[in-house]
């Protein structure tokens, strides 16, 4: 059996009310919507043609128009309404709202989200302790920077920011055109085109010291490249780390090429474009950090380590 009969039944029960509410979609559009294949959806619909209420005359069967580019239900019988949400479906929404609510600055929108969360929580058995939960760290609240960026995103305008860079410990002023905002490990970031760098950069909101709306000339808008495709030269760095630093490797898995056991420690290989950033991060790790290469990076690492320690002599 190519597919579990239960999966097919579940999808078919959901297809009927969906098609009834959205007549005229093609088989392919339905396949995309239901994360399935066109041939699977076609088989489901053909099967549903044969289903109905006891009696099974043309009056009791599910009736539909079935063409490749046009599907409509003429009579869904008693399957016109969607099934209630499962516990996992409800949880995926309530926890999603839990993550979202602290990030909403607009009071009216926030009230709506909180109200929705309440309505969906009521669908779960109130007596039962939840299976999963979002553990909020420090209570996040939306600050002025976040609100100004959200407005710039909504109206597609540009901003002038003063920004402190973590990798260079410097403050700079830049004109940025926000593209999108995301949350990663409790920090908000905005991806924006940066006129100073001439390419897309990620800006962490709590490192933006000031922000104001600004006009960007049509000239500079035209000069903006569509997307930066060139990647900086990547440096491959190898280091032995104490297992206490497992969290660091997990948090930066996009630059970690490999991790293997090395006695009781871990041997990690990084591939990184921002060397200065990695130097500072490695110096700030606890326990053993032994940089093995490349030679210029190793020299820089131990030179900095000695310089820090020399201040305490």
């Amino acid at each position: 059996m190519a597919e579990n009969a239960l999966e097919r039944t579940s999808r078919a029960l959901d297809l009927i009310p969906f098609v009834a509410a959205n007549p005229g979609l093609s088989i392919e559009e339905l396949a995309i919507k239901f994360e399935s294949t066109p041939s699977q959806i076609f088989k489901d619909l053909e099967m549903l043609f044969m289903c109905g209420l006891p009696g099974y005359t043309h009056l009791e069967l599910i009736d539909m128009e079935l063409e490749e580019d046009y599907v409509a239900i003429r009579n869904p019988q008693n399957l016109d309404k969607p099934r209630k949400l499962s516990r996992i479906e409800t949880t995926s929404l309530t926890l999603g709202l839990d993550l979202l609510i602290p990030l909403i600055g607009d009071e009216e929108l926030k009230r709506k989200a909180v109200d929705l969360r309440g309505r969906f929580t009521a669908l779960l058995n109130e007596e039962a302790e939840p299976i999963a939960t979002v553990i909020q760290g420090e209570a996040k609240s939306i600050g002025e920077v976040d609100v100004v960026i959200a407005q710039a995103l909504a109206h597609q305008t540009s901003l002038e920011i003063t920004y402190r860079s973590a990798s260079t410990d410097e403050i700079s002023t830049r004109i940025i055109s926000p593209i999108s905002t995301y949350l990663e490990r409790d920090h908000l970031y905005t991806i924006a085109f940066c006129s100073k760098a001439g390419e897309e950069r990620h800006f962490r909101h709590d490192r933006i010291l000031s922000v104001k709306a600004t006009e960007v000339s049509e000239q500079s808008k035209r000069e903006r490249p569509a997307r930066s495709v060139e990647k900086p030269d990547l440096l491959v760095v190898t280091a032995v780390l104490s297992p206490r630093n497992r969290y660091f490797l997990e948090a930066h898995n996009s630059i970690v090429e490999s991790v293997v056991s090395h006695g009781s420690d871990l041997l990690a290989t990084f591939s990184v474009g921002d060397y200065e950033w990695l130097l500072r991060e490695l110096l700030a790790l606890p326990g053993r950090v032994e940089v093995l290469g490349p030679p210029e990076f190793t020299k820089e690492f131990y030179g900095r380590l000695d310089a820090v320690l020399s201040q305490y002599r």
Partner: protein
């Protein structure tokens, strides 16, 4: 002869429709007589029906069992109450649907992302497809996808014990009774009773090895009635008391420290920063990242600890 999946799905849908349509409890005999797809000997049909009933319950359908005649209770009948079958969440406006769509779209783990999309399709089965509304809110990247997530969800829900190798400072075999799952700063944790240590512990799912197995037996343990996931983490979050340190930081440098500290001018080259901290390692990380632009001045034991902490890099 074994039936095809298609035949089975067809019968399950016919059975669902018949049970939904009936205002009274349908006896098995009535079901076998009227619902298309049941055939063979009485024993065969009986077995088919038992399996079908369990399958529909696995799909989340509530099949009520009852009898029309209280004098003949053994003649049980079955039906599905339409009110308990269909989704009833009231009206949802365009903004609410956009909020729900955003909530459903953020998940990286396939269990929640697929479930979220199924939920959205159900709303679209009531309200119809909607024009996208932009709420100018951040899109989520707040979850690192966790392997084994579906297995862990099932183990918590069905109360099955878990056995796995856990990689922390050492790699050790653990046996736990899982009480719940928690998402904290992007990472999923499973919280449960460590059966060998008899203590409630949390385990970062990213550190659980692929040798994870769940016991076959459902209901293998009881979760303590007073256990609460949110209270468990609340307690852990307030373990450390806040302390203060005094640092010298170079004028115009150590920007990360400046944001968190009270700053006074000290001399031409240095400012003095007083900073509150609750985690020594977080403070050391901040100072180390500032390289030669920050020096711990006071208290002296903290200064000594920092020097030791930096030296550990060479010697482990």
């Amino acid at each position: 002869m074994s039936e095809s999946g298609l035949q089975k799905s067809e019968r399950l849908i016919n059975l669902t429709m018949a049970l939904l349509a009936s205002r009274r409890y349908l006896t098995k005999a009535e079901i076998f007589r009227s619902v298309e797809g049941y055939s063979g000997t009485p024993e065969t049909m009986e077995r088919m029906f038992e399996r079908d009933k369990n399958d529909l319950r696995d799909l989340g359908l509530e099949i009520e069992v009852g009898s029309e005649d209280p004098l003949f209770e053994d003649e049980a009948g079955y039906r599905i109450n339409p009110k308990r079958y269909s989704l009833d969440i009231g009206d949802l406006d365009q903004t609410e649907l956009a909020l729900l769509s955003l909530a459903a779209n953020q998940w990286q783990n396939s269990l929640f992302s697929k479930s979220g999309q199924r939920a959205i399709r159900k709303f679209e089965s009531i309200e119809g497809l909607q024009e996208p509304v932009s709420l100018a809110l951040p899109f989520m990247k707040s979850e690192i996808p966790a392997k084994h997530f579906a297995l862990l969800w099932d183990a918590v829900e069905s109360r099955k014990e878990l056995v796995f190798t856990y990689h922390s400072l050492q790699s050790t075999k653990r046996r736990i009774a899982p009480y719940g799952l928690g998402l904290h700063q992007g990472y999923w944790y499973v919280i449960g009773l460590d059966l060998d240590k008899s203590e409630i512990r949390n385990f970062k799912i990213a550190r659980i090895d692929s040798d994870l197995t769940a016991g076959k037996k459902s209901g293998a343990f009881e979760r303590p009635v007073d256990f609460s996931l949110s209270k468990y983490f609340d307690r852990k979050d307030h373990e450390n008391e806040e302390q203060r340190a005094v640092l010298n930081i170079r004028v115009g440098k150590a920007q990360e420290i400046r944001v968190a500290a009270a700053i006074q001018p000290f001399n031409d080259d240095w400012d003095r920063a007083e900073i509150a901290y609750s985690s020594k390692s977080e403070l050391f990380e901040l100072v180390a990242k500032s390289l030669t632009s920050a020096i711990i001045v006071d208290p002296a034991p903290l200064r000594d600890d920092f020097v030791q902490w930096m030296k550990e890099k060479r010697h482990g």
